[in-house]
């Protein structure tokens, strides 16, 4: 599902965010990406969502190498990846329903289907009945769940989340993570970047640890030549 092969990412300002990173995430797997801030977690997610392209190495997502993808194919690629942000990136002037429906509208779904699936997504995150409210009228936790509903509404095979619980208290955080686990249980691949060790321990999923742009925890790594398939850290 996600394959990083000796990936390095250097930004125009000269900072090398990732150095020779290799890992594989299987279809339907849920994986945590951890490490201090600045370790390269966001860079990994940006490479997966094709917000950035690798400087060296190859990133393959949903069977497509992102380095060679033509720009006109990027929209179709992004529709296959649901993205959740720490600051949820909702449109403040649109009601909850419109925010959640956006990926379907963009993809050209029929109106009936948009209505049905947006409601289903809101139901999944427990926000059915708040469709007409504006994001600002919701609590922070609810806003984050709207962001999650938007990420899953078009049923992408892959969901990535960047510190989705960064602004939430521990109880809410756990609730949001359990939501992600439910998606993973039905076959969706989930990659969550977080620095919340408590949550990582609680959910007992595989963990990829980054430090200064390199993969640090290589427990279970078979060697440099084969791609590391990290075992769950318990």
């Amino acid at each position: 599902m996600i394959l990083f092969e000796r990936v390095s990412k250097r930004y125009p300002n000269g900072r090398e965010a990732l150095t020779n990173v290799s890992f594989r995430i299987e279809s339907g797997e849920m994986v945590f990406l951890t490490g201090r801030s600045g370790a390269g977690k966001s860079s990994v997610l940006k490479l997966v969502a094709l917000l950035e392209r690798p400087t060296r190495g190859t990133v393959t997502v949903n069977g497509k190498s992102t380095g060679a993808l033509k720009s006109r194919h990027i929209p179709a690629f992004r529709r296959q990846v649901g993205v959740v942000f720490q600051d949820h990136k909702l449109l403040a002037d649109r009601p909850v329903f419109d925010n959640v429906a956006l990926p379907l509208v963009v993809a050209g779904a029929p109106l009936k289907e948009i209505d049905k699936r947006a409601r289903a997504a809101l139901d999944q995150v427990g926000l059915l009945g708040k469709e007409r409210m504006l994001p600002a009228e919701l609590s922070v936790g609810e806003q984050q769940r709207v962001g999650i509903a938007r990420a899953v509404v078009s049923k992408p095979p892959l969901i990535i989340a960047d510190e989705p619980t960064g602004n939430l208290d521990p109880d809410l955080s756990l609730e949001v993570m359990r939501l992600f686990r439910r998606f993973s249980d039905v076959g969706v691949t989930v990659l969550v970047a977080t620095h919340d060790q408590h949550i990582v321990r609680e959910l007992a999923k595989r963990e990829i640890v980054l430090a200064s742009g390199e993969i640090q925890d290589r427990s279970g790594d078979a060697g440099a030549d084969t791609l590391p398939h990290l075992v769950p850290k318990r």
Binding site: L51, P75, A76, R78, R79, K89, G108, P110
Partner: protein, 307 residues
Amino acid sequence: MRPAIFGTRHAQALLGSLGRLKRNPLATVLTLLVIGLALALPAALGLFITNAQAATGGFSQAVDMSVYLKSAVPLAKAQQLAADARQRPDVAQVTVIAADQGLAEFRKYSGFGAALDALQSNPLPNVLHVVPRGDASSAAALESLRRYFAAWPEVDVVQLDTQWVLRFNAILAVLQRLVLIAAVLLGAGVLAVVGNTIRLEILNRRAEIEVTKLVGGSNAFVRRPFLYTGLLYGIGGAALAWVILEAAVLVLDQPVATLAQLYGSRYALQGPSGQVLAALFGGGMVLGWLGAWISAHRHLRSIEPRA
């Protein structure tokens, strides 16, 4: 994509653009006013020319000349010369105005009847009134016809009665060119106004554009509402220009009628024709759409989602 969905998405983009324009009424009205004035000015000039042509239409086509024969030339010779002239392909009609007939008309219309009685003989010569064919009424063709008659030994003077008409037509042609220049310049102005308005709106909606691209919105999808906004500006501006033109016609109608009456004409001012309106709305739509497209093409590219 199925046609129904395609139509729905365009309808959504159109309604969205309309809604946004309605939410900022002052900015929208100001932009429309600028576009409307820019479109109305060349249209008004064009309307002036059309009216000037129509008002003078009766005689501006009647290009003719009077060939004055020497007073010694008898009427019979004049008839013969007229028959010769009729053979020419560029001559439509030749009428002989005999000296006696000319004197009778002069006596009747000039008011010098008593003075003329004092004359011993008729001082007027025989005259040929020549009407050239329609396709030979250009200045050059008329000049060659004039030379043809002037070369006859029996001819005293050839007078192009309608030289002023040619001049008038030439003035109108200059004005027409001016309209063209004004239309091009003001059209460029409309492009710039729409382009800049769209640019500001794109910058205002940067966050929305980023999110839309992030969830897989194509450039065409992101661009669509802006193109509709440009199109709406064009249509609205054209409608405003129409109102301006009709208002101007309404205000000028009375004085123009009075002026026409003084010249013994029943001419009534003509409003914009269907053709003018089609050009107005067509031009407005094309300029609005194009301005928006150029702006969107330039500025949407640079907006890419950031994490």
